[in-house]
Symmetry: C2
Subunit: 159 residues, 2 copies
C-alpha cells in the first residue's frame, strides 16, 4: 500500500522515518541508575509534519516505563520544532537545529497539569547514521540543574 509522498517542507527529516528498536540507560541524582528497552516510531501522512511516538519498558519484566507522543515540524531550512505530550501531565515545546542527520533540541516552553511534577528543561541530541539512531537527553527537573538523564541506541526496523 503506497502512502502519500513526503511533504517537501519535511524532506530533511526523512532520515527519521520508520520504527526503531533498541535499549537505553538512565540516571539522575534522585533515582537509581536503570536500563530500558525502547521503541521510537516516526511516520507521516503527506502533511508538513512527522508524527512521533516513543515508549520504553523494563528489561527485567517488560512492564511499561515512559512514553511520549507528538509532532516534528521544520521552521526553516535547518530549524526544527517539536511538540510533545508526556503521560506524567507535561506538555513541552522544543526547538533546535538540524545539521545533516544530527538534531540538537532544547525546551522553549513547558506547561503541566495541576498534579504533575515540574520538568524545567530538556535537551535532546539525536544522531542517525544509516540505520542506527543514538541519542542523549539532559534534564533539569525536581530542583536539579541540567544533568545527563538518558542515552540510547536503536536500530531501524523493517516496518
Amino acid at each position: 500500500m503506497a502512502g502519500p509522498d513526503l511533504h517537501p517542507d519535511i524532506q530533511r527529516l526523512a532520515f527519521l522515518l520508520g520504527s526503531w528498536m533498541g535499549e537505553g540507560k538512565g540516571d539522575y541524582p534522585t533515582i537509581a541508575p536503570f536500563a530500558y528497552g525502547e521503541e521510537l516510531r516516526f511516520w507521516h501522512v503527506g502533511k508538513p509534519f512527522l508524527a512521533y511516538t516513543q515508549r520504553t519498558w523494563s528489561l527485567d519484566d517488560g512492564r511499561p516505563l515512559h512514553s511520549e507522543s507528538g509532532y516534528w515540524r521544520m521552521a526553516g531550512p535547518s530549524r526544527v520544532e517539536l511538540v510533545v505530550a508526556h503521560p506524567t501531565g507535561i506538555v513541552e515545546v522544543e526547538e533546535g537545529d538540524l545539521d545533516n542527520a544530527t538534531l540538537n533540541m532544547a525546551t522553549t516552553a513547558v506547561v503541566r497539569t495541576a498534579t504533575a511534577k515540574l520538568i524545567e528543561r530538556l535537551e535532546r541530541n539525536l544522531r542517525v547514521k544509516g540505520d542506527v539512531l543514538t541519542y542523549d537527553l539532559r534534564m533539569a527537573a525536581v530542583g536539579q540543574p541540567l544533568l545527563h538523564h538518558l542515552s540510547g541506541e536503536l536500530q531501524r526496523g523493517a516496518g
Copy 2:
C-alpha cells in the same frame, strides 16, 4: 492477547476505551463550514493514564485534516487532566470534571512553537452513551472570542 488490568486510578475513564469512528462538522468565523470523518482511539498499558489519538479526514477525498495525540489522567474522584500535542505546533493542558460519562474540559495552559498560530482556549464537552460518543468543541483562536468550532458523533468499534 489479554492486556494488563486497568489501573484503579482511571477506572472512571473506562467508558472511553476503544476505537471510535464517525463524522463531524466544523465552522468558525475565519473559514467555510466543513464536514469530516473522524477516528478516536483510547487505550491503556496498565499505568494511571489513557493514551489518546485523534485524526480526521475530508469526506470528499479522504485527505488527512487535523490530528492530535496525548494522555488523559485523573486528578481526583471526578477531576480529569488532559495533555495534548497538535501538529500545528501547539501543546495544551486541559482540566475539567467528569460526571458519569460526561466530560467538561477547558484549556488551563497552552504554549506553541515560534511558527504556530495562536490558539487561546479550547473547551470540550464529551458524552458517551453506550457505544455512542458525541462531543462539542469551542475555540478562541486567531483573535476570535470563544465560539463553537466542532461537533461530532462516533460509534465504538469492535477493536
